[in-house]
Symmetry: C2
Subunit: 555 residues, 2 copies
């Protein structure tokens, strides 16, 4: 069995200008980063807005489990399969963060015969977008501390600064730190901490900005803290949105790459899927919509988090909502939702599979409230028994859920033809779209609708701190923003140990965080770690270059 | 008067593949980063080592003053002037650090009609080399703290970790911090701090590495700290040199750009000129030597620091020592060395000029001990009076120092023809080269020779801490390494307020720092700030994009 990186290195890539030419883009429209990566030039991006939008397919999944679902793999494989079937298709995907690549993940560019290439570059520095964000974020941090050090004309309260620092690294030691030690020449001591770069509000902003002007306005609107008279202060009060925009002007441009089978893919932006909205950039999705007949895109975690945010936070900035939604499920993951332990996954177990099906059917029903068709992609793994596969298909049919087996990991585009056949008729339909809530709703109504529809919760409770914050937000008029829920991805509830379809539960919001520049309010339903740690044996231990200069250890 | 950025934006650039083609490099040899920047491919770099080396000109300067010298401008302008005179010439320069660009400097790509382009890119993220270094450096930091957190099998003493963290930002608040707060899940609390990325040992390593294997060996040899039995521990003990090499494999490749007049320039690497050696990469200089008849390169600060390190630390890794050395001086700076205040600089003052000449003549005599010719480039500023210019030329002639007026900032290649005519005859000569010291000398002998010849000091004293360290280094066999002196750049002595040519002084070494991977020992003669702060009005305040998307505020 070949590894992902062996398959990737055994693939022959076309020059990226050739991939672009097939999309009708001239060489001038592509800023090359080596022969196989390119950013789409800014004037081209703006021109493409005028073109008609193609069809949009959103790929989401059941709640993730340690068994793995293969959502990115299905996204890539579905697009390859559509192209193989003669439908001009593009991919819009998030770009990986270096921290998890060096930590547990070792890479995030699909797998098997459904990968975006060059996977070594995409998994490492790629075109530098993450690094530009790290620079811009920390430049703002330095400017804030420098403002205080140089006289603090804005009277910024050092104990109420709302802007942390970031690095694209998994580093638990930086979560909570004290800065400014060593006497007055080093500034003023205060508590601070680092998040991982993908958790930066600037990443969310980059992924929601329509153009450079919109980017600059959102950056200007970032809340940096409060003065001692309790008034909010923003980047525009520091007057540094120009420099920050400058640092992000290239990162704003989507990155064009290709799959193993030459399908063009825009891999751009990667906001955290809990304290941010977890999808690739608006500009990448919009550009793909203009360039292709069908765009396949993906949202983070399960449908309750990722798809909901895609539909409620991202869709208002797109020309259209998804024409169809593909929900990825695996036998293994459904069995885990049904209660099997990871150690027993290899055993056939129809009982836990049937029990776990409740998770899938909840997501299908929930997504169906939007009015858009939902198709289940059953992502086949080697150990799935024929009886298990048959049972799941029967359960879907009994519930009138369209389902298709996919084997793109093992077989590439050949393995996705059943999904293509099942999906295509739904793309021809035109249907109304209903988001989970209306952004004009009362804030608590929005929260309730979201939790009831997306999670199947009975309702939402606010902890005292959250209630107090909501009051403040209402006074400031910030409650008109959409909600970005930070909840465990592992359960429909806010308790990560409750798999399947938990019943009779309520969601408790501990705290809110304003993302004034990005334009949403994060609602924290549980602890969210915004700086991961490294495992005992990080993936970095096994990486390197062999004697021929070939990369090894990414997957 | 046009600003630097206006001149830059008014220039028309050739596609970088055209610049490369004129050097005999095929399109395959260039990894494009947009149309005007390219990295030279690794196989091409290795092939070029076989070609014969052209002539090498090192540009250095008198001790810097607040009046400015224009060393990079003369370097770029000299190369343009040589090309205009029909001599095929290339430039090898350092790349700027984003921290100072956002802080005081606003840019560092030459000035006036002697600039490397595209200056906006070079001054911002360029091709991501700095960011790759930041990533690799902090990945190692995270792996070290993770090692301690996950059981500390190497028994690393948390109070003796020799590896800090870095960011390419000016941020005084990060100089001294405490990390790992918040309980055991966040690791172990300890004192730490951030340096600016250009101060990272990895930057020095990148700039000295001959190839990927050499890079990996040097990374493996980085000292990370000591165990509780007082034994040194290295990156190779953590076994992560492979992952670090992977993160730096693209940053190792020199970046090809062009000047306003189309002169090819390799702009690559930028180590600090105090705690590191302050010159662009060995690979860039070597590659330029193979591609051009003449290579013009530059070393940081004044000749006592930058040129000395070039000659003693970098030259052993090059095929040749410089064929000639150009020493940049300005009337303004010499007057400041003679004692005039910055406020009075506009006044003609022959007395302070003559007094300040002692600084220039010391550098010329010191550099002459290497056996290589030294030519003074008198970099003309608008306010220089005819009498001052005449006096300086007379002083040089009286001391038999070749001198040429340069006006490349204002006039481009036309303004450098006198320097070309003065320099060229010296390039035809073949002379022996003598470094300031022999690396095999006793360590104290090396220190004494360096201080006496380069600084005109009477000798060197070791503070008790330094003496104790030297003893440890001798026991470990590390005293065989060259010295990297970290001294104030503003004086030949270790007292920054002593301009001109101080007499009867000794140099005191407070402390040593081992750079075991880079392969030198830093000798600290005074306080060296390895993380700059931002000024009251950072350059970032005045940067941005105008309505047409044009960058403003870099210079």
């Amino acid at each position: 069995m070949e590894t992902d990186i062996q398959i990737a290195q055994g693939s022959s890539l076309k020059p990226i200008v050739e991939i672009a030419a097939a999309l009708g883009l001239s060489e001038d429209a592509i800023e090359q980063y080596g022969p196989y990566k390119g950013k789409i030039s800014y004037p081209t991006l703006m021109e493409l807005k005028q073109k008609e939008a193609g069809k949009l397919v959103l790929v989401t999944a059941i709640n993730p489990t340690p068994a793995g679902e293969g959502k990115s793999t299905v996204t890539i494989g579905l697009a390859d399969s559509l192209n193989a079937a003669g439908h001009q298709t593009m991919i819009a995907l998030r770009e990986p963060s270096l921290g998890p690549v060096m930590g547990l993940k070792g890479g995030a560019a699909g797998g098997g015969y459904a990968q975006v290439l060059p996977m070594e570059d995409i998994n490492l520095h790629f075109t530098g977008d993450m690094h530009a964000l790290t620079s811009a974020h920390n430049t703002l941090s330095a400017l804030i501390d420098n403002h205080i050090h140089q006289g603090n004309a804005l009277d910024l309260d050092p104990s109420r600064i709302a802007w942390k620092r970031v690095l694209d690294i998994n580093d638990r030691s930086l979560r909570q730190i004290v800065t400014g030690l060593g006497g007055p020449i080093n500034g003023q001591p205060r508590e601070d901490g680092f998040d991982i770069t993908v958790a930066s509000e600037m990443m969310a902003i980059l992924c929601l900005a329509r153009d450079l002007q919109d980017l600059q306005e959102r950056l200007a609107n970032i809340l940096i803290g409060y003065n001692r008279a309790d008034q909010p202060l923003f980047v525009k009060d520091l007057e540094v949105q120009g420099a920050l925009t400058l640092l992000l002007k290239d990162a704003l441009k989507p990155n064009l790459v290709q799959t193993i089978y030459g399908t063009p893919a825009l891999v751009h932006g990667g906001p955290f899927a809990n304290i941010a909205h977890g999808c690739n950039s608006v500009l990448a999705t919009e550009t793909a919509l203009s360039l292709a007949d069908i765009t396949v895109t993906e949202a983070g975690f399960g449908a309750d988090l990722g798809a909901e945010k895609f539909l409620d936070i991202k869709v208002p900035h797109l020309r259209k909502a998804p024409d169809a939604i593909v929900l990825v499920a695996t036998i293994r993951a459904l069995k885990m939702h049904g209660g099997i332990s990871k150690a027993d996954l290899a055993q056939e177990d129809l009982g836990t599979l049937e029990a776990g099906f409740a998770n899938l059917s909840h997501h299908v029903n929930s997504l169906a409230t939007t009015g858009r068709p939902v198709i289940v992609a059953l992502n086949r793994f080697a150990g799935d028994s024929p009886a298990e596969l048959t049972l799941l298909q029967e359960l879907c049919q009994a519930a009138a859920i369209p389902v298709a087996l996919t084997e793109v990991w093992e077989k590439g585009p050949q393995g996705g033809q059943e999904l293509v056949k099942t999906l295509l008729p739904y793309l021809a339909e035109e249907k109304d779209f209903t988001p989970y809530y209306q952004v004009e709703d009362q804030f608590l109504t929005k929260l309730e609708k979201l939790a009831q529809k997306a999670y199947g919760a009975q309702g939402v409770d606010l902890a005292p701190k959250a209630a107090k914050q909501l009051n403040h937000f209402q006074n400031q008029g910030w409650d008109q923003l959409p909600i970005c829920m930070a909840k465990t991805p592992y359960s429909l509830s806010d308790n990560p140990s409750l798999g399947g379809r938990p019943q009779n539960f309520r969601i408790t919001i501990r705290e809110f965080q304003l993302r004034h520049g990005a334009g949403f309010i994060v609602a924290l339903a549980g602890n969210v770690l915004t700086m991961p740690g490294l495992p005992k044996e990080p993936a970095a231990f096994h990486m390197g270059l062999d004697a021929d200069g070939q990369v090894f250890g990414l997957f």
